[in-house]
C-alpha cells in the first residue's frame, strides 16, 4: 500500500523544488499509477494549487500545464485540430473518462512509463518540457533520461505544421497498449516515427538511411514503397520484449504493421484518405 507521511499543497514551484530534494519525497500527478505501488513517501508534493491544470494556446505554441488532466487534453479543440484528431485518439482508449479526469500529463511524461500513450504522441510533435531548474529541454532528450529531482512545469508543443496519425494495439479495449505508434509528417519535410510500449518506453525511430526523405511530396505509389521499406527498417531496429500481454515476436510484427499504416494514413491525408 502507498503510505504518505505528510501532504503539502505547495504555494510555489520553489517550495515544491526544495521539498522534492529529499529522495523519499514525491511530486503527485493524478495518482492512478502511484497509488498501486507500495511506496513510503515522506512528503507528497501537490502542485494542484499552481494553476498548472490548463492549456494555453498562442500563435506559436501550446503550453500544457503539468497538472492538466488527460481528459482536458483529449477535449482541447486547438490540439485536436492541430493534430487532426491524433491527440484524442491517443487518449480515448485509456481506461475510462473517470480515470482520464484524474491522470495528468505531467505524471505520464515525467514517469516516462513504458506503456505511455501520451509520451508516444508528444514525441512525434515538436515538443519540449519546461523544468523548474533545468529550463526548456527537447522532449526527446528528456524522455531518455532517468527521473531526477527537478519539477516538470509544462509540456510545450510548437505549432510547426504537421500531419499526425496515432495508432495503438490493445488486447482488449481500455487495457494497457501492446504497442503504440505515432507518425508526424512536418510540412517542412521532417518525418518522425515513434514507437512505444515495446514494452519499453517510447522512442523515435531514427531514419538514418533517409528512407522517409521528401515523403510528403512523393506520389501515392512511391509513398507506399517508402512506407513498406521504412516499416521493415523499424521492425529490425526497434528493440522489443515480451511480457504478459504479448511476446517479443508479436510486438516486432506489430511495429512493422503500425508504422506502415500510420505512414500511409498521414501521407495520404491530402488526398482525402
Amino acid at each position: 500500500m502507498l503510505k504518505i507521511k505528510e501532504y503539502v499543497k505547495v504555494k510555489d514551484l520553489e517550495e515544491a523544488y526544495l521539498l522534492n530534494q529529499k529522495k523519499t519525497a514525491c511530486v503527485l500527478g493524478g495518482m492512478v499509477w502511484l497509488k498501486m505501488g507500495n511506496r513510503n513517501i515522506s512528503t507528497a508534493i501537490d502542485l494542484s494549487g499552481l494553476d498548472l491544470d490548463m492549456i494555453e494556446e498562442t500563435e506559436e505554441e501550446f503550453r500544457i500545464g503539468a497538472m492538466t488532466s488527460l481528459r482536458t487534453l483529449e477535449t482541447h479543440k486547438g490540439l485536436d485540430g492541430y493534430t487532426q484528431g491524433a491527440v484524442k485518439e491517443s487518449l480515448r482508449h485509456i481506461v475510462g473518462v473517470q480515470f482520464r479526469n484524474c491522470a495528468t500529463v505531467g505524471g505520464s511524461i515525467f514517469g516516462r512509463y513504458g506503456f505511455s500513450d501520451v509520451l508516444t504522441m508528444f514525441l512525434a510533435m515538436d515538443s519540449y518540457v519546461e523544468l523548474y531548474k533545468g529550463g526548456i529541454v527537447p522532449l526527446e532528450d528528456f524522455a531518455k533520461k532517468k527521473p531526477d529531482r527537478d519539477i516538470l512545469v509544462r509540456v510545450i508543443v510548437k505549432k510547426r505544421p504537421i500531419k499526425t496519425v496515432y495508432l495503438s494495439q490493445r488486447n482488449s479495449s481500455t487495457d494497457f497498449p501492446v504497442l503504440t505508434c505515432c507518425v508526424g509528417l512536418f510540412a517542412d519535410g521532417e518525418a518522425r516515427a515513434v514507437v512505444g510500449a515495446c514494452p519499453q518506453r517510447a522512442g523515435l525511430v531514427q531514419d538514418e538511411q533517409g528512407i522517409l526523405k521528401d515523403f510528403c511530396s512523393k506520389d501515392l505509389k512511391a509513398q507506399e514503397q517508402a512506407a513498406v521499406s521504412f516499416a521493415q527498417y523499424a521492425k529490425e531496429r526497434v528493440k522489443t520484449g515480451g511480457n504478459m500481454r504479448a511476446s517479443k515476436e508479436y510486438r516486432s510484427h506489430l511495429v512493422g504493421v503500425l508504422v506502415k499504416r500510420a505512414l500511409l494514413a498521414a501521407g495520404g491525408m491530402d488526398n482525402g484518405n
Binding site: K35, V95, G96, V97
Partner: protein, 156 residues
C-alpha cells in the same frame, strides 16, 4: 489533517490521515454506494463527481477534496430513481454491484455530452465494468432514458 469539503451539498469537516483515500473517507461518512471493485483503477465502481466531473475516488487523496464539491449516489437519490427505473425496465440490473458507479458516470455523461450517439455512450462509459452482463441492457436503458428526457421527461 483537517479537511473541509462539501459532501452532497452539505459542508463537511473531517480529520484524516495524509494518505487517506477519498473512497475510504466517503464510506466512513456513510456513503456506502462508493465501492472498491478492483485495485487497479479500472472498474469505475468508486466513481463520484468532484466539481461535477467524474473521478475515481479510489485514486484520489482525500486531502485533494479540500474546498471541493463531492457528490455521491446518496446525493442524487431522485435522479437515480428516475434513471434506475429504465435500467430495471431493460433488465440491465443483475447483481447490481457496479450500479452506483455506473449511474454516477451516466449522470456525468448527460451533463457533458449533448445528445450522444450510441458509440459516444459506449466510449464515455468504457471505464465502468459490469461482470454480469454485456452492457446491452445498459445501452438500451440509456437510449430510452435520453428519448424520455427529450420528450420532456418528468413533466409528462
Amino acid at each position: 489533517m483537517e479537511i473541509k469539503f462539501w459532501l452532497n451539498g452539505e459542508k463537511t469537516q473531517i480529520q484524516a490521515e495524509p494518505d487517506a483515500l477519498l473512497l475510504d473517507v466517503l464510506r466512513s461518512l456513510g456513503c456506502y454506494s462508493v465501492k472498491r471493485g478492483c485495485e487497479t483503477a479500472n472498474c469505475g465502481l468508486c466513481t463520484v463527481l468532484m466539481e461535477e466531473r467524474p473521478v475515481l475516488s479510489c485514486s484520489m487523496l482525500a486531502a485533494r477534496a479540500e474546498g471541493k464539491h463531492v457528490v455521491t449516489l446518496e446525493g442524487m437519490q431522485e435522479e437515480a430513481k428516475e434513471f434506475g427505473d429504465f435500467l430495471a425496465g431493460e433488465g440491465a440490473e443483475q447483481c447490481g454491484f457496479c450500479n452506483p458507479g455506473f449511474i454516477m458516470n451516466v449522470f456525468a455523461m448527460l451533463k457533458e455530452l449533448e445528445d450522444p450517439s450510441e458509440e459516444e455512450i459506449h466510449e464515455y462509459l468504457a471505464g465502468n465494468l459490469c461482470r454480469c452482463s454485456g452492457f446491452m441492457g445498459q445501452t438500451r436503458s440509456i437510449l430510452k432514458f435520453l428519448q424520455y428526457k427529450k420528450e420532456g421527461g418528468a413533466q409528462k
